[in-house]
Amino acid sequence: MLETTVVVIGGGATGIGTLRDLCMRGIPAILLEQGGLAHGTSSRFHGLLHSGGRYAVGDNESARECIEENMIVRRIGRQCIEETEGFFALTPEDDPSYVDRWVEACGRAGIDAPEVDVKEALRLEPNMSPEISRVFRVPDSCVDGFRLVLHNAMSARRHGGKMLTYHEVTGICQKNGKVCGVTAINKNTGETVEIACSMVVNAAGSWSGRIAALAGLDVAVSPDRGTLVVFNHRFTSRVVNRLHPGSDGDIFVPHGSITILGTTSMPTDRPDDTTPTSEEVLRLLKIGEPLFPRVREYRILRAFAGTRPLYTPGNAAGRKASRNFHVVDHAEQGLDGMVSIFGGKLTTYRLMGERATDRVCAKLGINVPCRTAEEPIIPDPDEATLARAAKYFPVQGIKLMADRMGDDIGPVLEQAEKAETNPLLCECEMVSMAEIECVAKDPSTHSLTDIRLRTRLGMGTCQGTFCSLRTVAALAEHGISLELSPTDNARRFLQERWGGLRPALWGMQAREMELGRAVYAGTLNLDGAAHEQDC
């Protein structure tokens, strides 16, 4: 049996952020995650680091938290953030009388939101609708949620933290009204794992209600489903929001070479309800059109959905439910040693971790201050390391690679130095062999999909058509085997991509999808091989 002081449940931003905080304060901790890191909502949102402008009118306290955390996260997580700033724009369909209330609320929350001349705004964002009548500038930013989780995990590991991925929690053990351990099942091997501990932090996001129920507690957490659309273009340099009360589909967020539009909001009873529909895609396009009139002409790359963990005591639901978070000590309900984090959003993940860790410290009688707001998550590579990298990576790709790899830049460089060449296997996202090889050898990597989440392999224009073949070929050539055979692995990878292509099966994307079918079914007979190999 494993033993530790604290078990953290949930490997999303909040859980990993909590683990990092616990470890930095010297508290032994193990984290359990049912899938891979960022399996849930942390990899299924629009990637907006909120300025808080979005919540200023409806939830001023959330707005204040957002702007404070926004400033902290850009400082500590530089590699995960693109400092784009954001616009709030009033379209002819929005109520002009809302503007004054919004401006006043931003001021109250401490959000700097100066008005920009419409002409100037259109010069900066020429694809934006000329019908827009007022524009305000806010410190919105873009964040790579998956990378943020991964870098926090690297930092936690540096401070002694342990993580068990693909481990689903099956029970919270208690004795005399006090937590004494956690049981989980290893989803890859089927083995049961028991961990003795004195405290549990429930940071399972949309699943946090279910974890609480495992401990016999009744909590109101309602997963709320949101669908997002990814475009194959970066048609805006900034985050662009519609200036109106929070609603569906009205934020455009640029990332690298793409743009994400989201989201819808619909209650669901399943935290893993993540299949988007065509109807939702079309609705998003309709709502996005007043901001970007040509939105229907832009090529859609895929659609995806995630669930938000809304904390809904008293039955507030959907948009009305607070985006605020709550750290709950279940001692009040008769279970000592269990702390849950309910609600919240990615922007405030660090603060949620800090508050939860404060509570754990108070319980354990530990008096160490939080340092997560001061220390960078990943140290910047030095000049010498970057100079080494310049020999093996295309010049435009060095920063990308360094920001992606974080602590792993050393091993990646060693890999590149050892190899004869370091070809790009994914040209859309500029992912090279050395990165893929290094990630593939990591014990937490089981599949091409895991490699994708760490490197962005297959997330670009071709959606895996060229790079999945190249990657399984290169891994075979280098003698690195994953759990599935190369053909089965490629098939599963393409299947995962297919899920996001289906709801927007038209226009240029349909042609690209047919190219994928022409290659993998028409030429390589990957579909037939599924039944004919091993027989």
């Binding site: 070929a473 053909t487 028409g522």
Partner: protein, 429 residues
Amino acid sequence: MSRIVDVLVVGSGLAGLVAALTAAEQGRSVRLLTTGMGSLAISGGSVDFLGYADSRLASDPWQSLALLPEDHPYRLMGTESVRTAFKFFSDTMEKQHWPMRPALAQDGTPRNTQLPTIMGTLKPTYLLPASLNTQAMASAKKVLVLSVHGLRDCQPALVVSQLKRYKSWADREFTQGLLPSPFGETHRAITALDLARLTDKPQSRQWLLDALAPYAGKYDLILMPPLCGSKANPEVWQAVNAAAGCPVVEMLSIPPGVGGLRLRDALLNALHKHDFELVENTTVLRAETADKNCTSVLAEASGQQRRHAARAFVTATGGILGGGMVLEPGQCWDSVFKIDITVPQDVTLWSEPQIFGNHLFSRMGVRVDREMRPVDAAAAVRWQNVFFAGRSLGGYDYATEKSGHGVAIATGWQAGRMAAAAAAAGEKQ
């Protein structure tokens, strides 16, 4: 306006080229308009006739035709017409010294061949260039799998590990090898087409022959990516096989489609012997019709619009991939005649959750009669002198059936023949 040709073909994929050649061989003047290279630029170069029917592997594809749905283009044409079309194609390729033949079963009946791919999978395919020795492939014990340094798409280790998963290949003795790149140290990504183009020319072909020399005579069979030239040139094959000292079989490979370019080369060579004009880099915007006939199409090249008049028209613009069929939310139409293809409003119904499932979109296309003339919902012919061929037709899924080039040849031949007849009738009037 330029002269009126007999037959105007839109699209230079396999269907368009076969249609053009069929009409040209009947003595008709033919003009072919094409935007790009057509689907042959991404093709592996073997002719898939019918690999799977009713989800079952077809070893004798002619037998399996009966398992196809009634609206399948092969069923629509009838087996005898399909046979005649295939014979026309085979004869053409023989004349071009690039024979395309099926493997034969013990009793002499033609059958599908399971051809290895660069992924180490096997694909059932029908007509192969005669340069690929199917006998050697079936009987070889000692197999050498080769690729070239820097060719990212083909790695021998993948091919060997996956081929071994098939019963028919499991017991063979495999060796892997990498040929040195003729480009030396380069950061540029190289493709099989780069290498095949070197092999085209006698003066630069030597790199491949020299690279093969160390392996000569040690194996029963060499599997390679498609490196033996981008043209339909049998000389290259003779030289490569001689250098290897054993039969060389090229594995099916992904785009750029070296094998497909050889077919294109052979067909264009055949076409240039006739009254034939190829107009490249031109996009057909729309057709102009009067009553039950099409009079001309309007095309754009380098920003200039030009009207092309003809007595008969063949539309072989490809399907979704080629841009011949346009999908928009809740709608589908062909890009030239704007024929509205009835589809469910809800896009979700167009596809299945499994990527290689039985998708509705894969069978969307223009409905035609036996003569390849588009028909309306009441089965009435829309225009007397318009014929469709290839993937713009509905009723079949080339990708999962492995029937792409086969349907292109069959329907291309039929459309070309019918267009020639319509043009002849039009001339008399």
